[in-house]
């Protein structure tokens, strides 16, 4: 059962009503992300035999686990027509805090504190955005600088090793369950949870509705600021989780974790077909968006494209992906 089930029934309903015909534009918007993904896999396979090996696939999944977890939070934020530029910095804060706190507290307590710290950062941004109605771009930009600075202060600018107390965490981060890296499993689990919340909960439904028509939601007696606040808290908490994941893999807490990641995360959500104007986007598509981003980097590495060139290609590919999804409006005129 995928979220496209709703799409299918929608289309079926329309045909029954005899109102709409099949349209390429709609198909592109709903399935474009999948199409791009499959196309990329075909290209990758043609480029290198090493691509479709279990080892390589698991590698991509593990590499993208941090970005993926952050993309979930970013999706909720973008659905409300917002943006969160602070995720990379909150991940850094989470990474540093993990390395420090595991030494003083039992692991579950330490991790809860780290996630709480991320949620707290999101809460601060959310208060300014939802209650004082300041622009999300500016507020989260400030949080991006502030959280990174805080991480640098806490770590004194030095990487902090997890050491013996963090052994269990590092074991988790570097081992596999049923052949899948644990961080990737966690990411997939969170995606599944997000899928349920977005499609079956009142919260998810209202988040989407707010991005589509905030005033109509407000005039239905819904406390809109609460929901807007909540998405930033979720985004902050998930960014901290991403920081934990990175640290669990490397065994080091560092204030340089996640630098520039906010842009990759936004790119993944947008490649997944979400609209920055709010109200449009899905969990599965976002997952595919994350994977597309991962596969692109992976292909270019396998094909031996130099790092600097990769960035240029990535830019081109992002534009291409968004163009394809918005094909409907382009073809109309």
């Amino acid at each position: 059962m995928s979220e496209n089930a709703t799409t299918i029934t929608e289309t079926a309903g329309k045909e029954a009503g005899g109102r709409r015909k099949f349209s390429f534009g709609k198909a592109f918007r709903h399935y474009g992300t999948f199409g791009i993904f499959i196309l990329l896999i075909l290209v990758a396979q043609a480029q290198s035999d090493a691509f479709l090996t279990e080892r390589n696939i698991m590698n991509v999944l593990r590499q993208m686990s941090g970005i993926g977890v952050m993309a979930i939070g970013m999706l909720f934020v973008i659905l409300t027509r917002g943006i969160d530029l602070s995720v990379g910095s909150i991940a850094a804060l989470g990474s540093v805090a993990t390395a420090i706190l595991v030494k003083d507290y039992p692991l579950p307590v330490a991790l809860a504190m780290v996630v709480g710290l991320g949620a707290f950062c999101g809460l601060i941004s959310g208060i300014f955005i939802a209650l004082f109605r300041l622009p999300a771009f500016v507020i989260t930009l400030a949080m991006m600088t502030g959280a990174r600075g805080f991480a640098l202060i806490l770590s004194n600018g030095q990487p902090i090793t997890l050491g013996a107390p963090g052994k269990a965490l590092q074991t988790f981060g570097t081992s596999f369950t049923l052949g899948v890296p644990n961080p990737a499993l966690l990411m997939i689990g969170l995606f599944a949870l997000a899928f349920l919340v977005l499609n079956y909960s009142r919260f998810g439904r209202l988040v989407k509705a707010i991005g589509s028509n905030e005033e109509a939601v407000r005039l239905s007696g819904i406390p809109v600021p609460f929901y807007v606040l909540a998405v930033y808290v979720i985004s902050g908490a998930l960014a901290a989780v991403a920081g934990v994941l990175v640290t669990s893999r490397s065994g080091v807490g560092s204030a340089s974790v996640g630098a520039g990641n906010e842009l990759d995360v936004i790119a993944a959500v947008v490649i997944g077909g979400a609209s920055l104007m709010g109200g449009r986007g899905g969990v599965i598509n976002t997952f595919i968006g994350v994977m597309i981003l991962g596969v692109i980097g992976n292909i270019m590495n396998l094909a031996g494209v130099p790092g600097y060139h990769q960035q240029v290609y990535l830019g081109v590919i992002i534009v291409a992906a968004v163009l394809i999804q918005n094909g409907s409006s382009l073809f109309r005129r």
């Binding site: 009142r202 509705a209 109509a216 939601v217 819904i222 406390p223 109200g279």
Partner: protein, 501 residues
């Protein structure tokens, strides 16, 4: 003598509906020609044609005997035609001088010179506004002066004022009328649109009355008494749409307003409404009807006065508190405020009250479908599938989805703001039936409408608003459009409202 402006045989339609039908209109230099009519009579549309903002399907515009072919508003301004709209078109963050010369700025700007010219223009109007002030800091009246100065800076020979005094205080309105007299003396031709008949009688040389997109007649104030003018504006046959109002039992008082005053110009509104009652809120657009509704619903702040809901003090700070106390609002702007257009019908219908179909915040899909199915049947919404987006429905059925949302909440007081705007005749009748049903179920219903026939057909009594005040109340024996318009448009205070209840 050749007319300064002559509009000949103008026809303009939107989506097949005639907004203007064969309208003739002329304006002499040095004349004030007033344009009257109800909301939607076509006054503003006609002026959009004159201002080059719209091109009519047929007809032509002559200026001093020569045909004008206008390519947009800029072209009209260049030819000396300025239209000052109800909503002013100033850039709030720019200075007075910048606004006046906006669009006509020389390539190399000399700011001191520009300010000097701005000051001179404003002085000519008899005002003293610093050209360096930011427009957003000015009062509405002064903003209006800037608009007029802007028109003068373009050597306007024709200036159209579209309800200029609607937002002005009495003193400022007087000064504006003086400006208009001065402009007239300088030979400018002026078109004056207003709902204030006393002003029109004071200033106009001729009056053209419009109704339903047609010109009814052009008269002079001297030869036409006010009541005759109002009769020309109304008099449309009353459509038989309303069905029979079922017998409802009028019960206890649900809501009482005492001296409700709002920051947006609504003053001292008091009335009460009881359960089972359908009360109309009439008056022209901008008379404060919507503002009162939004304040009752907690959507806009209240500055003073008190409200009592079901015997307890009531002062909602947001719509949520209003909904919790059992108040619902069907807003006038359906697409912007009533529904989430891109979202499924099903999700819109349960938005305001999901509790019956959720467990721990998650929807029970079967229960939700059942609930929505019952609502669809009960309200007779015509649709393909409840999973279609609301945007796939006709206007009438979209409105029924908004109603379904509130039927699902089951509030004790429901306010419907223009419930049948953009709704076809068939769906209108069904919506009227639903409104009667709400009353029969013992709800208190407030209906706001610009269609007077609708108010008279639906309501037990009609409260009439004008310029932010409650001007009076009409009971069924007095249900005539003339009486409603007279109450709304004139300043006299015939009798106090809300006496009963």
């Amino acid at each position: 003598m050749t007319a300064l402006i002559q509009l000949q045989d103008i026809t303009k339609s939107f989506a097949g509906i005639h907004a203007l039908t064969n309208v003739d209109f002329d304006l002499q230099a040095g004349e004030v020609h007033a344009l009257c009519g109800e909301n939607g009579a076509g006054k503003s549309t006609l002026m959009r044609v004159l201002g080059g903002e719209m091109r009519p399907e047929t007809g032509r515009t002559m200026m001093l005997g020569e045909e004008l072919r206008l390519h947009g508003p800029t072209d009209a301004i260049r030819r000396g035609i300025s239209v000052i709209h109800q909503e002013m078109a100033l850039a709030p963050d720019l200075t007075v001088a910048e606004n006046i010369f906006l669009g006509a700025l020389p390539a190399g700007i000399s700011w001191p010179k520009l300010r000097e010219r701005a000051r001179a223009l404003i002085a000519r109007l008899g005002f003293d506004i610093a050209p360096g002030d930011q427009v957003s800091d000015l009062s509405v009246a002064h903003q209006q002066v800037v608009e007029i100065a802007k028109a003068l800076s373009r050597q306007a020979r024709v200036i159209v004022f579209d309800e200029p005094t609607a937002v002005l205080s009495t003193g400022d309105a007087r000064r504006l009328l003086q400006i208009i007299r001065d402009l007239k003396a300088e030979g400018v031709g002026i078109v004056y649109i207003s709902h204030r008949l006393d002003e029109i009688y004071e200033i106009a040389d001729r009056i053209t009355v419009m109704k339903d997109g047609r010109r009814v007649d052009t008269v002079t104030p001297a030869s036409t008494p006010v009541d005759q003018l109002i009769r020309m504006m109304v008099g449309r046959p009353l459509a038989q749409l309303f069905g029979d109002k079922p017998e409802t039992r009028i019960g206890d008082e649900v809501l009482r307003l005492n001296g409700l005053t709002l920051p947006n110009g609504v003053r001292d509104v008091s009335f009460a409404i009881r359960s089972g009652e359908v009360v109309g809120l009439g008056g022209l657009v901008g008379s404060g009807r919507t503002e009162v509704a939004r304040a009752i619903f907690g959507a806009d702040p209240v500055s003073s006065g008190e409200m009592v809901l079901k015997g307890a003090p009531y002062r909602p700070r947001n719509p949520r508190q209003a909904v919790r106390r059992g108040v619902g609002l069907v807003p006038e702007d359906r697409k912007g405020q009533g529904i989430v257009l891109d979202m499924e019908i099903r999700k819109n219908a349960t938005m305001a009250n999901a509790a019956p179909v959720t467990i721990a915040g998650f929807f029970r899909p079967g229960a939700e479908r059942g609930l929505v199915q019952r609502l669809i049947q009960s309200l007779r919404i015509k649709l393909g599938s409840m999973n279609d987006p609301v945007s796939s429905l006709s206007g009438g059925n979209q409105q029924k989805v908004v109603l379904a949302k509130w039927f699902n909440v089951d509030p004790g007081l429901i306010i419907l703001d223009e419930p049948t705007r953009g709704v076809d005749v068939g769906a209108k009748t069904e919506i009227y039936t639903l409104i009667h049903r709400l009353a029969a179920e013992g709800k208190a219903v407030i209906v706001i409408s610009s269609e007077h026939a609708e108010l008279f057909g639906l309501c037990d009594r009609v409260l009439v608003m004008g310029e932010g005040e409650l001007r009076g109340e009409l009971l069924p024996p007095d249900y005539e459009e003339e009486k409603l318009l007279t109450l709304s448009m004139t300043r006299r205070q015939p009798r106090a409202a809300g006496g009963q209840a």
